[in-house]
């Protein structure tokens, strides 16, 4: 019966299963057996969790000035398992940002961005940017105090960008003040534009990884052995274990630390203690200690440098072939961001 059905389907959708097996069994280097090399697949899994929980949350969410907050409260307090779905959505976003950051660090410090993998790195940095934007638009949609003032600050930051700032701010906010237009725009970005951009970038990223193969990285104990193992089933199962562990972890976090709902957005009062989500602590602190225009230009310049780093590194290595300067610069930048983040986390103001 099953064979007949398979035959019937294959006649209409002639998929070459042998070819598929060959494609999925791509040999990958032995170092991929280490858990740190699962960090690329982890955000992809978490993104799927985000899409599924996001679609379910969208059944009840209303992106309007008057109803956004109440609809989130309804999801959290009334809808069966709404609190759990919202919490899993929130925690998977936090884990996703953490894993993308860790993956970026791993790729940077192992020099995996070097030729011919420059485009893979560039799509990766764009993925990091899209992930952060998804995080920001996500917490803005809750429309609590943090959402409103976060969006106000973001709109004014956009306005301070030289030349195109005014236009950018108007496009983002959809008027002079945060209002209905802002929420619908953020919703369109969060649930439409950014996820589609994410899918396209993930696709490009994976295609580039398949084209160039996983970067060779040998530990001392396996130098010169050139050992490989098939992606499927070996590495696939490693990723699967990671996925199952994450699902358990997400549920634990959702139950122990459920997503809370702060005070309703009040355009007339900025709360006394306001801080963004932890992943924006470094920009928040940077904005406190430097002038506005400098803070914005330097942050933009930092991300631009990060985006084109493979070419800068190539230039440095052209003149100093054995230079480790990239590692030092990377370590300096990372420690700098870490200091700003911790500073903001512990400081009262």
């Amino acid at each position: 019966m099953f064979d007949k059905l398979t035959k019937w389907v294959l006649e209409r959708a002639p998929v070459n299963t042998e070819e598929l097996k060959h494609l999925s069994a791509e040999p990958v280097p032995n170092h991929l057996k280490r858990w740190w090399w699962c960090l690329g697949g982890t955000p992809a899994y978490l993104f799927i969790v985000q899409v599924v929980t996001g679609i379910l949350l969208a059944f009840y969410y209303v992106p309007s000035f008057d109803h956004a907050y109440d609809s989130v409260r309804y999801i959290t307090e009334e809808v069966p398992f709404g609190w759990w779905l919202r919490s899993v959505h929130k925690w998977s976003s936090i884990f996703m940002i953490m894993s993308v950051v860790l993956h970026t660090l791993r790729v940077f410090f192992t020099g995996a961005y070097r030729a011919p993998r420059e485009f893979t790195w560039m799509t990766g940095t764009l993925l990091l940017g899209v992930t952060l934007m998804l995080g920001f638009t996500g917490y803005s949609l809750v429309f609590e105090q943090l959402s409103y003032w976060g969006a106000t600050v973001a709109g004014n930051m956009a306005q301070a960008v030289p030349v195109v700032g005014e236009l950018m701010a108007r496009m983002l906010i959809g008027g002079e003040k945060i209002a209905n237009n802002t929420l619908t725009r953020f919703y369109v970005l969060h649930a439409g534009v950014l996820p589609v951009a994410m899918v396209v970038l993930i696709f490009l990223h994976i295609v580039l990884i398949r084209v160039h193969g996983v970067s060779q990285f040998e530990f001392r104990d396996e130098k010169g052995t050139g050992k490989t193992f098939p992606f499927y089933p070996d590495h696939f199962y490693t990723e699967l274990i990671m996925g199952v562990s994450l699902t358990i972890l997400l549920t634990c976090f959702a139950i122990i630390f459920p997503a809370e709902l702060g005070e309703r957005a009040n355009p007339l009062v900025t709360p006394a203690h306001i801080k963004p989500e932890w992943y924006f602590f470094f920009t928040f602190r940077w904005l406190k200690i430097t002038g506005l225009t400098f803070a914005i230009i330097s942050t933009g310049f930092f991300f631009f440098l990060m985006f084109i780093w493979p070419f800068i590194d190539a230039l440095i290595r052209k003149f100093k072939p054995k230079s480790e300067i990239s590692v030092w610069i990377g370590a300096f930048a990372f420690i700098g961001i870490l200091i700003l983040t911790i500073w903001e986390a512990v400081a009262e103001h």
Partner: protein, 160 residues
């Protein structure tokens, strides 16, 4: 071949197929470009909510010397001094948060800018002092503040 004939530029032969191909490509590209330009204009709202730029604050006698009144709805504080009234905006000049009006100072909760009693930056990242706004008297004697019209820092208005 004479020199004159040699210098003549011979036109490149264009086949009907080539011409149609080029024309189609340019038509498609230009219509797509124009459509894109049109779409870029779309996100700019055609209508903005009409937010009133002025609001009434009462009569001059409502502000005895040495008092101040916060108009929370408009994010403005009106202070009464010996030499007149002044209206100071409570919107931080850094990134638009509402500053907290305390005795003799204003504090921004977002990025920590501290302003003195006249709105000058004492500490923090705000690039400019708080905005001072125009106060005018209406024919019925009542005063109104214009949130769209700023005046130089320190400007005070005397009304009878």
């Amino acid at each position: 071949m004479s020199e004159e004939e040699h210098c003549k530029i011979k036109p490149e032969e264009v086949t009907r197929r080539d011409f149609l191909k080029t024309a189609t490509m340019w038509t498609a590209a230009s219509s797509l470009g124009l459509a894109l330009l049109g779409s870029l204009k779309f996100p700019k709202p055609a209508l903005f909510p009409d937010i009133p730029k002025t609001f009434k604050i009462g009569k001059a006698s409502d502000f005895p010397v040495g008092t101040e009144k916060v108009f929370k709805e408009k994010s403005v504080v009106v202070q009464s001094h010996r030499d007149g009234l002044c209206a100071i905006s409570l919107i931080c000049t850094h990134l638009g948060c509402i500053v907290k009006a305390e005795r003799k100072k204003f504090d921004c909760p977002c990025h920590g800018t501290k302003f003195d009693d006249e709105g000058r930056v004492v500490y923090g990242p705000a690039p400019k002092p708080l905005e001072w706004l125009k106060i005018s008297q209406l024919p019925d004697g009542k005063l109104e503040v214009n949130i769209a019209k700023s005046v130089p820092l320190g400007t005070k208005f005397l009304f009878s």
